[in-house]
Symmetry: D2
Subunit: 396 residues, 4 copies
């Protein structure tokens, strides 16, 4: 297959760094593909771009290098020091391909983390600079295709997103230097307008605006999002259908997450947390009938570092009004759960692009908390759709 | 629809009693249908026999009446005292329709519970008596159809079940008064030979023998089993596909169940526990790839009474060898979880029988830990099959 | 022993109602004394006022009767309907002895619950009315002694409590009609000024002000507080000493409480929650060395009704920097845990008063989250102090 | 203070190795003393032998070196590879001081692990060889004192231990070459007979026999045991007093442990597990009143390696018969929890020996599941005894 570049917005963050370290470690035979959906049936039958040959670059607003991020992560064990050592030169090379990004409308919690941001005078200039960065990356690395992935910290939710429901409204806002346009959507626009596939790994707005969906359709380019489903919400989408199909009436589902990384720090800011909670809450509403108490807490607990522990308490009624209960804890490394999905999505979106499959990609619904254009939240049924997609491409 | 009788083997046990109390409470408007799969989409669209009109009878080896069992259960809250009072007369009427059963090859733990058992001189005589009991129940209650449900305590596993792989082998063994033939299979034979649908709600052998599958096919009668999926295993079948589809490598799955009812007491007996563990363990093996440590413990803790608490500890590896973990507790009333499924299965099997759909019923796989004739253990996909079945019958 | 009256501020609340129901159920032989500290060694050796002979009255700002509260509670099982029926007349009699209270400075969340409050023109008038209510209760019921117990909803914390550090400052503030004086301290003043023992069961200020401590000493009256230790904090005070004594370094202790009763509703209000969190957090700080992340969340989840579930996640370092973890869930009925302690404290404080033991009562430290005048938070050592107290009174 | 040697039976096992690595890492400034009771108040005020100057030797029946054990352990993170590298030479030196031990009556599970064992013809010869090994260690390393610590795998319980209730009975049995005498007691005898302090860190018999208690008293030598309290049982001894002091009636306490190290493998053997469960169960019986269901399970789950997870489910009744519940998980590294206690006990027993404090050492009760000669199981009260001991030695 053709040569694929991966442009990650937030390239020096934990998720991006872990994805890059992982891909390079696989290339060097220092890691296996556990955790990658595309490495097993049914996707392994597809002719996807190889992980080993992916070229990475991206935007960031911090100066901490990818290597430094990797070393900080390895203090908590993932990736191991040996792995980081084995890919050190590769990471240094990636750092050469990281440009200064924008943090417009990302909220104070994000801005506080920034070492530098794009200083262009207008929204249109910012977008031009981003397009130019994408273009240079593709040209300098002789790439057939680049997939842009948003893996930056969560933005505060955008109010009245319907005002950007058409492409002309969106472009009009750009022309008017509309100060409400969020960074994630500018990155998305800059990709789609030049026919570059786009994946929104975060709860930020990205390509979810009507105007950008229109742009993707018009330009025949695949895109998908929103907010990768990696931990607690993944479990919810596996468990909630059980309650629904058995007609067990959920009365409350209380989730409490504690985590200790920069993501947790940003989410301490209520403004940014709001965006996250919005996408997390919807999964249950989409699966379960009736009214129930549904709360998600995200608390920052520094000693946990890059680990996240979710505790969920589920009360449900059964036959004859019996009150029953399920509780679970999920303890994972956020980055280790998310990173392989970045690689999966890049491979699958590149594959779709190669075949001219444009617009939203419903076969990828299982990857997202809020799959654009898909109402189904049952993980198995979402995954079944991916299986059918793979089968249809391999003649089964 | 026609008039349906429900003949429960183990009619005075907790599951049967709760099912009967529940059906009668629904009939009197004292309970709703929460927990019944057939009371919601998609099955609610089918023309199933109404719960209110089901007539109950059965076999048992204890003299404790259904009413007494209900009252003992209500000491732990389910069903409530008010509910038991509301259906008291109905329960007394059911007791009149309960006959003495057999406990042949049910293990000492079961035999120790027996107040009386069938004293027929030979296996063939036992079977004749059972057929006669079924026949009298149908005739005296003017029933168009009876569904036989095995809800008795777990038998020890049968060794070399393949010796009964054909109908002639099975009938030959009966003729030879083969003392290894388990009670559950005699009840099943007695049903199927006269064209009566049969459901095996337990891990016992029941209709799983090749000879009985042949008999059902020959006589055009529907049957299904094995071991209703009500608690921990239900959760496993919802969760394990998540690990599989995400290519997360499960390294150990340790389950520990504590429960306090008679079922728990019988399972204290290692012989009987073996049968249970066999069906419980298989679900994970059927969903997850690779080797992993898989243990299920069932311990008897009298203070829990009819409640069961499962604690599961799952270790899995993710990307870059990250070791992660999930733990859950599930706290439910065994009987309240199982009872509505008895009613569901009766309704769905009667429906199939009415339409001449004979043999194993794969659309019912989601109800069982070891669904006969079905390899799929993913709960959502199993349930999807039920949805398709319902759709095919309602023209959708 | 002499005849003892119990005047509960918040007499129609869950804790008071459960205490009253329990005392009367014990009197009628309908309940045993499980959960009462004074019913077992070492306190059972003391000549305490009998539970059966306690006379109850109190203040409240709601019109819902004690009987109605009891019935609402019994919908969740505690107390049982049978128990409520058995003490119905007693509860009606108690209701006759409940007067309208004040809610001054209790915060909006409490004021919103009020059906009526004292309408006296000035703080001094309010206090006079309260004293008069106490006096009438004692006289009309021919009581030798009354113990006033604050069991009302939590007030917001008082700012700069040191301004009331002397009795003259406190009385000066009353004379100036100081609008910051919290209701709980007015009730306490009204008790202590007339030599009536006082117990503060809540995190509110109560008798914790320097001026009231001075008053109690001057008048030779026993009093104690603050915030009964019933659930999660009780467990903390049992567990944290284990980490300390083993030199295991706690790095974070995250507590998450969900509950569904009116208490939970009041604590949804951040102002009122602040008071609660202040007393809850201090226990760990008082036991563990070094810095650690210490957070307590209290969330309102209506389906839990009067039940509270706490989930705590504790990370600690051991030898060679090993990172380890403990997690627990605690699921209890708040009222059933608190109510017997109300009876215990009344009995023990009446006992002290009878013997002329005035001022703060350190032997009661084990009952409180923030035991006034005591630094020891280790539950076993606190309880050991009660044992020594009992021994000293029984000559052992 | 004088020069102290530590002779560990099972010197190449996980606990011994971790203790040795830790002591040497502290000596090299590569680790701190977190987890050591003697490193904090009150014991830090005592003039104990310094950790840095302890000299290690011991017996074992495996040929795997201490360094190899340390490296295997470090694959699971504890100790870290860096730490092992830093003390490599020290570990090699310790290995030179390890002699072949005996495994008589240790059960098949232990014998199966043995590479070589003492081949002396009689019990008396075995004992002579052990004494000679102790003597050589002391002489060659110029030690003022050696403390013998049993840290070998659990033996099966000894039947009728009362037959060795006197020293003459024990010595008579040795003379008769009694084949029931367990290895742990031979090691203990060999220590005590020559005035060497002895600590039994395991559930094995060790010095618990009446004859050996007599010997220790006669020879004026301190000794203590039995079974170090490191994890689940430690928590029990902290929590159970809470239920007792609050008069909450525990109805069942179910404990389930999963672990993956050699200790777990040995405990898979029911014979050896029996010894362990005996000491674990007693703690609750010693603290809680009344009857309750008390079960402890220990299961081997290889993927957990040296980590142990305990899950405990506690049901208790409160006021008005309210049924409540607590559950906890405890996840620790067995070796990291146990190892510092080895160092603590050596230091404290050496201190006692220096001061001529002979016989059982009740101030050390907090370290043991079954503290010899002490009935108190409440952790805080046990620890209080250690505090008083320290105070009495520092004039406070």
């Amino acid at each position: 297959m053709s040569k694929t570049g991966v442009w990650i917005v937030g390239a020096r963050g934990n998720v991006a760094t872990t994805a890059i370290v992982g891909a390079r470690a696989i290339a060097h035979g220092e890691a296996d593909t556990t955790g990658m959906v595309t490495a097993r049936e049914p996707c392994s039958r597809l002719d996807l771009p190889s992980v080993e040959r992916l070229i990475f670059g991206g935007h960031d607003i911090r100066r901490t290098s990818v290597l430094e991020t990797a070393r900080t992560l390895s203090e908590n064990g993932i990736p191991s020091r040996e792995t980081v050592d084995a890919v050190r030169e590769d990471l240094e090379a990636v750092d050469e391909r990281i440009e200064v990004g924008t943090a417009v409308n990302c909220g104070n919690a994000v801005t506080d983390l920034a070492d530098e941001t794009l200083r262009e005078p207008s929204v249109e200039d910012v977008v031009e600079q981003i397009r130019s960065d994408y273009r240079s990356f593709a040209r300098e690395n002789d790439l057939d295709r680049i997939v842009v992935v948003n893996a930056a910290s969560s933005e505060p939710p955008l109010s009245n997103p319907e005002r950007y429901d058409t492409l002309s409204a969106f472009e009009g806002a750009m022309a008017d230097d509309d100060s409400d346009l969020p960074a994630s959507s500018l990155y998305a626009y800059a990709a789609l307008v030049d026919g570059r596939p786009y994946v929104n790994f975060t709860p930020s707005t990205g390509s979810a605006l009507g105007g950008l969906v229109e742009l993707a359709d018009k330009n025949g380019v695949p895109h998908m999002g929103r907010d990768a489903k990696t931990g607690e919400t993944l479990v919810k989408s596996a468990l909630a259908p059980m309650f629904a199909s058995r007609n067990l009436r959920v009365r409350s589902w209380e989730g409490h997450n504690i985590l200790g990384n920069a993501d947790g720090e940003v989410l301490e800011d209520e403004e940014n947390e709001a965006g996250k909670l919005e996408t997390k809450g919807g999964v249950l509403e989409g699966i379960l009938d009736g009214d129930f108490h549904n709360r998600v807490r995200i608390d920052y607990a520094p000693p946990l570092a890059d680990w996240k522990t979710a505790w969920d308490d589920i009360r449900f009624d059964g036959f004859l009004g019996t009150r029953m209960k399920m509780q679970f804890t999920w303890e994972g490394s956020d980055s280790a759960l998310a990173a392989p999905l970045v690689l999966d999505l890049v491979r699958l979106v590149a594959f779709a692009d190669e075949r001219g499959e444009s617009g939203l990609q419903p076969q990828l619904a299982s990857f997202f908390k809020q799959p654009l254009g898909v109402d189904e939240h049952d993980l198995s049924l979402q995954f079944d759709r991916l299986r059918e997609y793979a089968n249809s491409h391999t003649g089964e």
